[in-house]
């Protein structure tokens, strides 16, 4: 955090000054470690074992927050008799179909002995479609939809408040993690027992009524074939300790781009519509009714999915969208499986995808398996690159690595390339959503020079031109109606005809009759009377005022600082903050008060905007047939969840298991000591000659790649370098690509400090300056020494500081929930000296593949 989010880290330092204990877990000793009270080096790829070990400690020593767990989690829910855990099935859960690489989740459900047909119960998809079709639905990243809402779950089920029933979630959890002992943590993660036990003591002593502990993570937790389960492990621990929805608690994702949160909320992502509404799927979402039936929950705020969806359709198709035509729902394209950025590369290579927009992104060096990315671009008819500088994704056709290896010749590449200069943040109006879900407006200071334009300008004028051309075309067909009927009449201003960004924000925020701005998503309707471009952002333009531009100085506000910017939803700063009060509505302690029930006014109140129905008393209990928000009881703090509870066990929503399990990364020098099952059985593997995997664990050939490699960022550079390698200040501060190795590994491989090393995987080989440092410690586990190689991933051939891209080494094996790649734990070899030039580079990699006997099938088993 001190390295990649230094200004955010000032609050950690502030907390430390007030007595907080800081623990840093990382394979690499960084500036964060230097300020930590406890530094824990860990083997990359072993965090589920580490955090799972803490869960086991909490359960074995009764250190959980019992009142919180009973009131706010699903600990008491009883599971179906058919559920079988990884402890029963040697590393897989019940329901696995190895051939289809898919789980049937039916056995993961809560038990419901009282059979009662709830109103509106839908026919399960599994009764309507074949397993193959279901797999396509599953592959549409369904777990990501609904944000924190999880999947559909039956709110009425069997429960045991004593937590003694052998099949209640609490007991299942206890058995599941029982083998995650300090000895096992040492064996899997390389963390010495005494260090581990010290962490357990510190975390548990600092959790409870009076104290809270927070977890902070970044891509070190997400870029894995089990990335979502990493976060789930933390969610289980934090729920057991009562650290969710409370000040100083939570699990905080530190995101790396100015508006990467915003581009997830208003998603330029294949599987989502604005506000985490799932993109319609060809199976099961045929019309608006089936979509709403399939995608809404019977209880909580996702029961209002129809309000959100109809209001979005009204924002996009205005007066054309009516109740009579399903509000133009049919205008939305449909998914059939995954269409993630990696499938897109495959569809470029196969000639299906012929055009590509790159909008402030540099996949030629910034995406995993960078060669495959460039090969994909070389198969296109056209490519549009919008950026500040001549990044590698704009120039690969003249000077990319494949020109050097003679895999491509410039004059043979058919791709037509348009480079369009982009406007900077100082040259346009607009909002970024930061990592705490807060929208902040930046104002244009000057006009962009030359041909530089904002992406607002680009999208708006491109749309305007396409609409004109399609409208004028005699071939106008039914397929053009969605574009021609689109509301696309934004006011423009100034000499460049820049669209008014506030007008777009107003559409996103939403309006009712006569375009009166709405102030909250609870005002949305499903009858077409409201329009809202992103329901979770509803109210950011409340009262016709740009709430994101509010700048009441922090020094004149309380610690919540609610009058600076605007956080979704409804300007709440801490989600699920009902849990900061006990079931009766009183703060768990004075010290940790955030929101509470005021009996005098019969409303929730407090320092933050309460994340609860404002006038719902703690003693409210819904009628048996209540639905939607009416079904939220006065103690259902987790209002988006289908059962109102924080999930210790996820009965739905995750495609790779209801509980986290330690699996080895796709490529690992180690076998899985816990189970016969080596990898996440349903991880996504993309079989392609450009994407070969290495053998792992006990498989012959794995010894060819004996070291663990991991990627990370430096303070002075930004992502793939497009905004840093071209700047003299930053290029001078970090002037060369390097790899970090321990003195022991340097001695083992003959690497010299400040000399060159070549790092090799089955995909490619890259060279880097060697930084011999004790910052990366060798770890001892299972009688072996593990060496790790650290690779900052910012470099590429262009700019003021140049170097090979670490992404050349990375394969595409993906987390099956969200389709993220595994940059954070690879296996590699490292050797002294520079890499070969020209075609000889390919020969070196080929020689390694032969030595490890790598084929297309290697590493693709379930």
């Amino acid at each position: 955090m001190a390295e990649a989010h230094p200004v955010g880290f000032q609050w950690v330092m502030e907390a430390k000054q007030r007595g907080a204990t800081v623990i840093h877990v990382d394979p690499r000793f960084t500036r964060t470690s230097a300020h930590a009270d406890v530094y824990v080096p860990i083997r990359a790829g072993a965090d589920i074992a580490f955090v799972g070990g803490i869960i086991n400690y909490v359960l074995q020593h009764d250190r959980y927050f019992r009142d919180y767990v009973l009131a706010y989690t699903n600990a008491s829910a009883v599971l179906s008799e058919d559920f079988a855990d990884t402890e029963d099935l040697d590393g897989v859960f019940s329901g696995l179909d190895r051939e289809l690489r898919m789980y049937d989740m039916e056995t993961w459900r809560y038990q419901r002995s009282e059979v009662r047909a709830a109103a509106g119960d839908r026919t399960p998809l599994r009764d309507r479609f074949t397993p193959q079709q279901l797999r396509q639905v599953r592959r549409a990243a369904r777990g990501e939809a609904h944000g924190s809402g999880g999947g559909a779950v039956d709110p009425v089920h069997d429960a045991d408040e004593t937590l003694q029933h052998p099949r209640c979630v609490f007991q299942v959890l206890k058995r599941h993690f029982a083998r995650y002992t300090p000895e096992l943590v040492a064996e899997v993660a390389g963390v010495p027992e005494e260090t581990f036990l010290r962490v357990c003591e510190l975390v548990t002593a600092n959790s409870g009524r009076d104290r809270t502990t927070t977890f902070v993570y970044s891509l070190g937790w997400t870029q894995h074939t089990v990335g979502v389960q990493y976060i789930r492990t933390a969610a289980i621990l934090q729920s057991l300790l009562g650290n969710m929805g409370r000040p100083g608690g939570g699990i905080l994702a530190l995101r790396g781009h100015a508006s990467i949160q915003g581009s997830t909320d208003i998603p330029t992502l294949f599987d989502l519509l604005p506000g985490y509404l799932p993109m319609p799927h060809a199976y099961g979402n045929e019309d608006l009714d089936t979509y709403v039936a399939a995608e809404s929950l019977s209880k909580g705020f996702w029961a209002d999915t129809r309000n959100y969806m109809v209001s979005l359709l009204k924002a996009w198709w205005g007066d054309t969208a009516t109740a009579g035509n399903d509000f133009c729902y049919a205008y939305l394209p449909r998914l059939t499986g995954s269409h993630s950025t990696y499938e897109t590369v495959l569809s470029q290579l196969s000639g299906v995808c012929t055009g590509y927009f790159l909008l402030g992104q540099n996949p030629a060096v910034g995406s995993a398996n960078a060669r495959m990315q460039r090969m994909g671009m070389a198969s296109l008819d056209w490519l549009v690159v919008r950026d500040f500088s001549m990044i590698e994704s704009a120039t690969w056709w003249r000077d990319g690595p494949e020109i050097e290896t003679e895999q491509m010749r410039t004059e043979d590449i058919k791709t037509e390339v348009f480079f369009l200069p982009a406007a900077a943040h100082t040259e346009k109006n607009g909002s970024f959503t930061n990592t705490q879900r807060m929208l902040q407006w930046h104002h244009a200071a000057v006009e962009p020079a030359g041909d530089a334009r904002s992406d607002l300008w680009f999208a708006y004028h491109l749309g305007r031109r396409i609409r004109q051309k399609l409208a004028a075309s005699s071939a106008e067909t039914d397929r053009d109606r969605p574009v021609l009927d689109l509301t696309w009449d934004y006011p423009v201003r100034g000499p460049l005809a820049e669209p008014d960004a506030e007008a777009v924000l107003a559409e996103v925020s939403g309006w009712g009759a006569d375009r009166t701005p709405l102030s909250s998503y609870t005002e949305l309707n499903d009858d077409g009377s409201t329009s809202c471009g992103c329901w979770i952002y509803c109210g950011v333009y409340a009262g016709g005022v740009n709430q994101a531009a509010r700048r009441t100085p922090g020094g004149t506000q309380d610690w919540v600082a609610a009058d600076w910017g605007w956080a979704w939803p409804a300007n709440r700063r801490v989600l699920y903050n009902r849990a900061s009060a006990d079931p009766d509505g009183r703060p768990w302690s004075d010290r940790k008060a955030l929101v509470w029930w005021d009996q005098a006014t019969r409303r929730w109140t407090g320092h933050d905007v309460p994340d609860f129905i404002a006038d719902r008393p703690p003693d409210y209990r819904p009628a048996a047939d209540a639905r939607g928000t009416e079904a939220i009881s006065g103690t259902d703090a987790f209002i988006m969840q289908g059962d109102g509870k924080a999930w210790l066990f996820a009965p739905a929503g995750l495609v790779d298991g209801p509980l986290p399990v330690h699996y080895e990364p796709q490529e690992s020098p180690f076998s899985n000591v816990l189970h016969g099952q080596q990898h996440n059985p349903v991880r996504e593997v993309l079989t392609h000659p450009l994407n070969l995997y290495q053998p792992s664990g006990d498989e012959p050939g794995s010894e060819v790649f004996p070291y663990v490699a991991t990627t990370y960022r430096l303070t002075e550079h930004h992502t793939a370098g497009g905004m840093s390698r071209f700047l003299p200040y930053l290029a001078e501060l970090q002037p060369a690509f390097f790899c970090e190795v321990s003195p022991e590994l340097a001695a083992e491989r003959g690497l010299e400090h400040a000399g060159w090393a070549t790092i090799v995987t089955a995909r490619s080989a890259i060279e880097a300056r060697v930084l011999v440092t004790r910052r990366i410690q060798p770890l001892r586990m299972r009688g072996r020494v593990v060496h790790q190689v650290g690779l900052p991933w910012h470099w590429g051939p262009n700019g003021l500081t140049t170097g090979d891209a670490a992404n050349e080494l990375v394969h595409l094996a993906l987390d099956p929930n969200v389709y993220i790649q595994e940059d954070k734990a690879l296996a590699c070899d490292i050797r002294p000296g520079r890499r070969p030039r020209g075609p000889a580079l390919l020969d070196l990699v080929r020689e390694y593949r032969q030595r490890a006997a790598i084929t297309l099938k290697t590493g693709t088993d379930t």
Binding site: A258, T268, T336, F432, V446, G554, Q821
Partner: protein
């Protein structure tokens, strides 16, 4: 008077004058008095947000003669309290530095070098390319189910852009039937 010149030395002024700690007048020189902060003379200060990571540090953009002359942290922000990291501090170079391109560049199929192209012409050509790729990759049905989409073109990017920009991109491309719309959030 030359023999009294030593009295003008800062250390002498510190010892003999009122500024015993050497934190004010004693340490000033003619040179000190002749230099001015680079933000002096700005015509206006515009409120902004750092474009690098997602902490969201507030910035103040100083403008003179319609040029950005300096970018500094905004002390009013409850997030950053005026601080910027090395990247945020380099924002002036990012936005006004020599590496920025200001002209459209065009590489024709099989071409070996960049060519100039007028922005309006480029926009027109891109609109044509989108329509053509959309047509070529169109799918009305898959396995008998209506899908009404195109796999003909794709888009990658958005995490560095504004919410309003992402909104228009998603809205336009979805209406065109494109589904391969992605950004750094998955990477």
């Amino acid at each position: 008077m030359a023999d009294r010149a030593w009295l003008r030395w800062p250390v002498a002024r510190q010892l003999t004058g009122p500024d015993k700690l050497g934190r004010g007048a004693a340490t000033r020189s003619r040179r000190t008095d002749s230099i001015a902060p680079r933000i002096r003379g700005a015509d206006r200060v515009v409120k902004s947000v750092c474009p690098y990571c997602a902490v969201g540090c507030a910035q103040q953009v100083y403008v003179r003669d319609e040029q950005v002359i300096q970018i500094e942290g905004d002390p009013d922000s409850p997030v950053s309290r005026g601080r910027l990291c090395p990247k945020g501090s380099a924002s002036l170079q990012l936005t006004t530095g020599a590496a920025r391109e200001y002209r459209v560049r065009y590489r024709r199929p099989f071409g070996t070098d960049w060519e100039d192209l007028d922005l309006e012409a480029a926009m027109d050509m891109i609109a044509d390319r989108v329509i053509e790729s959309r047509r070529k990759g169109w799918q009305q049905e898959v396995d008998g189910k209506p899908v009404r989409r195109t796999l003909g073109f794709a888009s990658l990017g958005g995490a560095t852009l504004d919410n309003e920009e992402n909104y228009l991109i998603k809205k336009l491309f979805t209406a065109l039937g494109a589904i391969q719309i992605e950004n750094q959030a998955r990477i």
